[in-house]
Subunit: 398 residues, 2 copies
Amino acid sequence: MLSVDEALARVLKGLAPLGTERVLIGQAHGRVLAEDLAARLTQPPFDASAMDGYAVRAADVAALPATLKVVGESAAGAGFRGRLERGEAVRIFTGAPVPDGADTIVIQEDAEAAGNGVVVKHAVPGQHIRPRGQDFKEGEVLLRAGTRLNPRALMLAASMNHAELTVRRKPKVAILATGDEVASPGTVLGADQIVSSVPYGLAALIEAQGGEVVLLGIAKDDPESIVTLARTGGGADILVTIGGASVGEHDLVVETLRGEGLDLAFAKVAMRPGKPTFFGRLGEQRLLGVPGNPVSALVCGYVFLVPMLHALLGLTVDDRPLPLAVLGEDLEANGPRQHYMRATSSWREDGERVVRALPSQDSSLVAAFAEADCLIVRPPHAPPAPKGARVKIIPLKA
Amino acid sequence: MLSVDEALARVLKGLAPLGTERVLIGQAHGRVLAEDLAARLTQPPFDASAMDGYAVRAADVAALPATLKVVGESAAGAGFRGRLERGEAVRIFTGAPVPDGADTIVIQEDAEAAGNGVVVKHAVPGQHIRPRGQDFKEGEVLLRAGTRLNPRALMLAASMNHAELTVRRKPKVAILATGDEVASPGTVLGADQIVSSVPYGLAALIEAQGGEVVLLGIAKDDPESIVTLARTGGGADILVTIGGASVGEHDLVVETLRGEGLDLAFAKVAMRPGKPTFFGRLGEQRLLGVPGNPVSALVCGYVFLVPMLHALLGLTVDDRPLPLAVLGEDLEANGPRQHYMRATSSWREDGERVVRALPSQDSSLVAAFAEADCLIVRPPHAPPAPKGARVKIIPLKA
């Protein structure tokens, strides 16, 4: 059976970043920058005071205390236009331009106003000046294409004097549930019916990554119903089907979509849960088929769909390895499939994350999955792991 | 000077969760649940097969191999309506109801179809049946008020047969920049002007927490301008002002808003950066005044604004302590103010996060802040900390 790594390589093969669009900086949060961004100005644009106080000449405060004549003030937005001469000081505020002739800032706690003058009690030559361009210089590239725009990146982009940014278009994902037995939430259920829940979990996962979701509804277990709804989602970058993919006789989705031109890349993965996952291309569209079981489906979302979205967004790969955590209990040896064990965490006094696999790993337990806060990743044929061993985890925040 | 902990206690005092609203489950991602949510059904609603295979009577497969007559099938959504009698088997699929009379599932790999019958080669009495209610039972509360709705919680809520959820109203935050020298991004700047960048950083931070932002624009350094714009944001739960709060003579915001009824709780905090932060009440509205310096302003956002939003959302307090990381370099002793040091991380092979403070902690460096991925929290008067020591950090993801 195909390993997860091999399956993921096939899923990502040829998946190029989407086109771009311009958005206002106030609407760019969470979007992915699609261009290297260069500063449109130099910051600070002038030598600036780092403190409230007085701008002076170092030569005038070599001997202390020194009494200087206050000849004006320099505020942020209203600099002192003249030149500081010998024996003079200028009242100055944080961020304001240091006047010509001045080379030192005396902080106000070290000075005492006296009539038209100021008595300087302490000064360090050259201190408390932020040189022009200390933060950044015009033309300098400070944010790279592939960056997810978080609060600090957006603050920086604004500081660089950008009002609009070029970002990747949001990936569109159409979600198609299947199954005669599946009904929408909120309805009165027939005896053998179950509620459609996977679309809502996957939709939230996609939104958290910056994708756009189209819910296509629930197809009946017949080819016409599947084809009709799948075509409705034809404009999406990714079509996700739920269910209809195991080896039972009622698994129609793959066969039906072959008739639509599905070029299947794989139909089974050595993972647990999630074995019946399939993947292929429908023309330009990627098709990811996740199992009908909710826990399996969402695990496949974390393992396959999130990397697909990152590829479409051109997100710079976060090469940080999966984080490690300490086992709070022994784990048995693993079987032949990579196991994504639902687990909960606690934190030791020394800051270590201690993880315990849920007592039942039955993939039908949706309530237990909601209580888990990470997945322990157990490679195929992993030997038993004792309490205290370090294991790789996928944190489940979103 | 007021400690950060004391300041935060004053900020949060009396801050009660906002009102509620009903939203469709497909629009509830990231919202905070405002009610305990009970299951509207039992899951699975019947004893269900955990595998594809055959439903049999354990008594019939005590001696193996055993040949049984296949009398029908039970699929998800279409159960077998009869009762299984001695010597009979029913073809069954994962998730389908176990027929009356059956008590064991034989997986298909252990059975061989033969005409109208099946030869069972291996069976374990009682195996591969998910008992009714194994996941959850009708009436059981599975999601608590105060839960942030992530993909797994939403999948569970749908599984519980909820089509709508009661969530907290989004906190509204109005942001008012101030300063004669401050100009909107994208404009041609005058000699002494600087770009308004803080509103875009704070807006993203607020959105990431599930708040709604109103950008009020930039007030001039005169009382009328400040009052006019502040009143425009009168309907917000929180008014954030930027700048105009240090001890310089040009700091008008506090005095101006006193005239509007500002009841000031504090105007200085023993933190670095962020000392000139102020906080008070304007009637029902909370007023948070952050420094004009971008780095200081956003640090105050993480330290004060995020907890305020959590309180308004009724978010269950995450009592996980701040995570720890290992110092990659020595740190000097800290001064009298709590220091939020901008730092970058790398990961050791053993999974430890290793943090290094940026070489310059000058709070005017916006570009460097964008490169940081955490803040090292140094308490007041902390002694020197050697390389390898563990320190508390605030991760900067959003």
